[in-house]
């Protein structure tokens, strides 16, 4: 994996490593676009703290901010989090591949032994 891609994934994991940041992401996932106030008005933290969380999300590429005069609108940028999910899915695929190799090896062993050492019941798998 290229360094830059790995760094992006690291930031994605950091982005979701806080409940308020996940809340922002979930709200944005439910709405196409929200102002900063709409997305965070009920958070029990200061505005500078909110700004800090938004900055983490922006740097991770999890959200994009559209500035329209004095209104800042937030949008979800789904791809970066999808990358994190895809990385986990890739780990699963590696195991699937190992299972394929084990299967192939066992078949070879059985063929080498002359006859399969078990009845064929492949249709049940």
């Amino acid at each position: 994996m290229a360094n830059s891609q790995a760094a992006t994934l690291d930031r994605s994991f950091v982005a979701v490593a806080h409940p308020l940041r996940r809340e922002i992401l979930e709200r944005l996932a439910r709405h196409e676009e929200l102002t900063v106030g709409e997305a965070t008005h009920d958070f029990p933290i200061s505005k500078p703290a909110i700004s800090k969380h938004l900055k983490v999300l922006e740097e991770a590429g999890a959200i994009v901010r559209v500035i329209d005069g004095r209104t800042h609108r937030l949008r979800l940028n789904g791809e970066s989090l999808e990358d994190a999910y895809a990385w986990l899915a890739r780990q699963r695929e590696l195991w699937e591949r190992k299972l394929d190799v084990v299967e192939e090896y066992l078949r070879e062993q059985q063929r080498a032994a002359g006859t399969p050492n078990t009845p064929r019941t492949e249709d049940r798998a």
Binding site: M1, A2, N3, A6, L9, D10, F13, V14, V16, A17, H18, P19, R22, L25, E26, A29, R30, L76, G78, E79, L81, E82, A84, Y85, W87, L88, A89, Q91, R92, W95, E96, R97, K98, L99, V101, V102, E103, E104, Y105, L106, Q109, Q110, P116, N117, T118, P119, R120, T121, E122, A125
Partner: protein, 154 residues
């Protein structure tokens, strides 16, 4: 059957083989199988400089692409070896992956459902790094479900 649990960073994969638990266990720990594993592309060069199948013993897999680029290297330590039922080992990617130098754990369970038929369950736990895992009690699935609902392909 397989699934990915993004809340805990666990990957679970299951498959049934037409072979005894001993045969599947031995295949799993066979260096020839390990060497073939990464040969989805036959040009890959795989070396296993360390393979010490005993509790506390280590292994190391190095995968080199002929076209160059970074080697894929993984290493770990065998933690439990109960032939033919169960095998547990640590797993750590080297290099620049998202969890490089972060230790996870692979548990492989071999259950002979009936003579000559064995189900293997792989659980690879702790794939996410500590910072993300510590806060993963909730959120990921909700976010991802929302993504799915918003039409972003997964």
């Amino acid at each position: 059957m397989s699934n990915v649990d993004v809340d805990t960073g666990t990957v679970r994969v299951e498959r049934t083989f037409e072979a005894s638990a001993e045969a599947v266990f031995d295949a799993w720990t066979n260096p020839e199988v390990l060497r073939r594993w990464w040969k989805a592309d036959p040009s890959h060069e795989v070396t296993i400089p360390v393979l010490d199948l005993r509790v506390g013993g280590g292994y190391r897999l190095e995968m080199r692409r002929p076209e160059g680029g970074e080697d894929m290297i993984v290493h770990g330590t065998y933690r439990e070896i109960s032939r033919p039922d169960r095998l547990v080992y640590s797993w750590e990617w080297e290099g620049a992956g998202p969890n490089a130098n972060h230790e996870s754990e692979v548990a492989v369970t071999f259950v002979e459902d009936e003579p000559g038929r064995t189900t293997v369950v792989i659980e690879h736990a702790g794939l996410l790094n500590d910072e993300s895992r510590a806060n993963h009690a909730r959120g990921w699935n909700g976010v991802l479900d929302s993504f799915a609902g918003s039409g972003i392909p997964r």
